[in-house]
């Protein structure tokens, strides 16, 4: 039942939040205005005023927590050493819990899951990420290109195609898992209609991995599709008209106009897609019902240490290792694709 009083409480809290933010930002901007426009008469006044609120927010919400985690990663803070670590855990009520780089060493030398080493999980994670992102991008771009045409029923298609993104994963993934059941699931029933023998999606290591892939591809395509749909709008129609006048074919126009102009938005989106897939916990959690080690990825081990066992120190170190891997990857990705070209050079 809709409780009007509660709704009012909630709404006034949101209003209060927005007013507080507005006042804070206004005060900040006024200060910056006085300093950079009136006093320094800086040419960079506008960008400074534009950037400061976001930079402050990011410093508070990313830099501070990262430093906190970095500090913890050098301690054995955990359920058994459940104390505020202070500086490097050197002086706590339980004595020093400083362990130096031990947590980082443990990540590489001890099995991070009972049957699995870091390296095996790393390999599985790479396969998992590569296949997912490949299909996300290919299918997402393909659907966006089709949806971008003048087409009867375009709105209906768009509404249906965004459904996997719209419906809460906690419900859809549990339904997916039931659909993979060997005897009763819809997937095998549909395959049977095409004469395909039932597949042990949940109990066979390889098929379970495929099931996870199918589910995650289903889940991730709308995101790429929507981004591409937006990116396609940044391409002026004039280019196509010019190409058309020059007698270019559709394929040629796609290769020489669409692809290069999609790049500035798609390349960062792909990178984000890689991060999201790399760190995706929900799909393995729900679809790997049988606890198959072959269906684990790095973050499942991280979550197990962090959540099931509350090993704060180890989990922090593990998270930084994952962070470092992605950072190195990003470095090469950026060099190779020039995703930052134009952005960084000049």
């Amino acid at each position: 039942m809709f409780d009007l009083n509660q709704a009012f409480t909630a709404l006034s809290d949101v209003a209060l939040t927005l007013v507080v933010l507005l006042v804070l930002v206004a005060a900040l901007e006024a200060f910056l205005y006085v300093v950079f426009v009136r006093w320094r008469k800086s040419r960079m006044a506008l960008p400074i005023m534009f950037l400061t609120p976001a930079v402050l927010g990011l410093l508070i919400l990313y830099v501070y927590p990262l430093l906190w985690e970095l500090n913890v990663s050098f301690t054995k803070m955990s359920i058994r050493y459940f104390v505020d670590p202070g500086f490097l855990g050197l002086d706590t009520t339980k004595g020093s819990i400083f362990v130096g780089f031990q947590n980082y060493i443990d990540v590489f030398t001890k099995p991070v899951l009972p049957q699995t080493s870091f390296y095996q999980l790393f390999a599985q994670t790479i396969v998992w990420t590569a296949i997912n992102v490949f299909f996300h991008v290919v299918l997402g771009v393909l659907l966006a290109l089709m949806l971008n045409r003048r087409l009867r029923g375009r709105t209906l298609y768009r509404a249906l195609l965004i459904l996997p993104w719209a419906i809460p994963a906690v419900a859809s993934l549990q339904i997916w898992r039931t659909e993979y059941n060997f005897q009763y699931g819809a997937v095998n029933q549909i395959l049977e209609m095409f004469g395909v023998a039932p597949i042990p999606w949940l109990s066979d290591p390889i098929w379970n991995f495929v099931a996870m892939l199918i589910t995650n591809i289903w889940l991730g395509v709308p995101f790429m599709m929507v981004l591409t749909l937006g990116a396609l709008q940044s391409i002026s129609q004039d280019y196509y008209e010019a190409a058309d006048l020059d007698g270019a074919s559709g394929t040629q126009a796609f290769r020489s106009i669409t692809v290069p102009l999609l790049k500035p938005i798609l390349l960062p989106a792909i990178l984000l897609g890689i991060f999201l897939t790399f760190n995706n916990i929900l799909v393995p959690f729900f679809i790997n019902a049988n606890n198959l080690t072959s269906s684990d990825i790095l973050v499942t081990a991280l979550y197990r240490a962090a959540f099931s066992f509350t090993r704060y120190g180890f989990a922090a170190a593990f998270a930084f290792v994952i962070f470092a891997i992605l950072l190195v990857f990003t470095f090469f990705y950026v060099r190779k694709t020039n995703v930052l070209k134009g952005a960084l050079e000049s």
Binding site: I79, R80, D106, F182, Q183, S203, A289, N290, T310, R311
Partner: protein, 427 residues
Amino acid sequence: MRRLSTLASLLAAAAVIGTTVPAVAQDPVAFTMWTKEGEADGSFQFVQKLAADYTAAHPGVTINVVNKSVENLRTDFLTTSIARQAPELLWTVSDHVGPFTASDTIQSVDELVDLSTFLPNALQSVQLDGKTWGLPVSFGNNLMLYTNTDLMAECPADTDAWIAAAKTATAGGNYGIAYPQTESFWLVPFLGAFGGSVFAEDGSATLDTPAMVSALAFLKDLKFTQGVMPAEADYAVMDGMFKNGVSQVDPNASLAPSATPPPTGVAASVINGDWTAGAYADLFGDKLNICPIPQVTGADFPKPYVAGTYLMFSKDLAGDAAKQAAVLDFAKYATDTPQQLEMVAALKRLPGTNAAFNDPIVTGDALLSKVAAAAAMGVGTPGNLEMRCIFDAMTTGIKSIYTNADADPQGVATQMQTDYSNDANCQ
């Protein structure tokens, strides 16, 4: 601001009441209770009502009842404890005793409450390091055998009888027996039947034992040799298969083998916990039978873990005498006989106190007396932190047993032990 106005309106309300009823000389106390109870079985509503009834009788007290899933209750309680913002009272499962004592975030209750009023069997699951860490609100959480009397009329005398009955019910996508093949909680009873236990007296893990090998061999035989179980089943599938045995359209339609062919995906009997007894009873009516898990032929009765639901008190609470007194008074109220019997009626769970447990309302109830008989077969759930690694190692093990007809029980048991000792999270 909002809190102030709430407080003001509360005080105003108290003043109004004060004119008619003798004023209660008590400072206002507010505390928060996190409960793992959800709305699924009406248990959250029950906890809310309990708190509301209490505050109605004690106008100075405000109780904020918050629902958290079992996992989130644990992680959020630890996180808020770091910041000294933990909720004062928890209404949760016995498994949390391990992490909360290791992190020193809850109080032992030995000095706070007279424990002799509580069921000793319920208390043992929250006893660790010689102390008691929670008050049982309910007793049970144990696995039992539920049968659809259309398909399996009697409680099987032993597993041979069970398998025989299951075979007649197995045909055309229907099965005689179903239970989750993905959770090691369902392995524990059979380990007990062969005299095994996951921990030795000295606390070391004993997964690679003859008892474990026999239990694994028995379950493998049940699935692959007897063929009375579905190929794959997790909790949701098992639950759905049992419920499929009730014809929703026509409650009088019979599913007996003689009648028209039943829909596929029906289980004649399932092993499930006491938490679903009320829901199954509502759905099946007199077509539901509840039995202890049948005695393993040639061995003992299976021994499921038994525990309950417990009230636990935050460590930080100890620093505030007035609040501690208020929280304890509520805990006493919640475990008092009238409230216990109210819970029995509302949730069909066994109570946690001796007085309520032996009340005719419980002993005379057809359903609850069967639940109590099944719970009597159980052993206390170990509360220590290592249980999680034990469960994980066993889960990986039973997975090979249930998915691979060629799995070697001895090899699997050895692997379980290795997995446990290799688990960095418990070493």
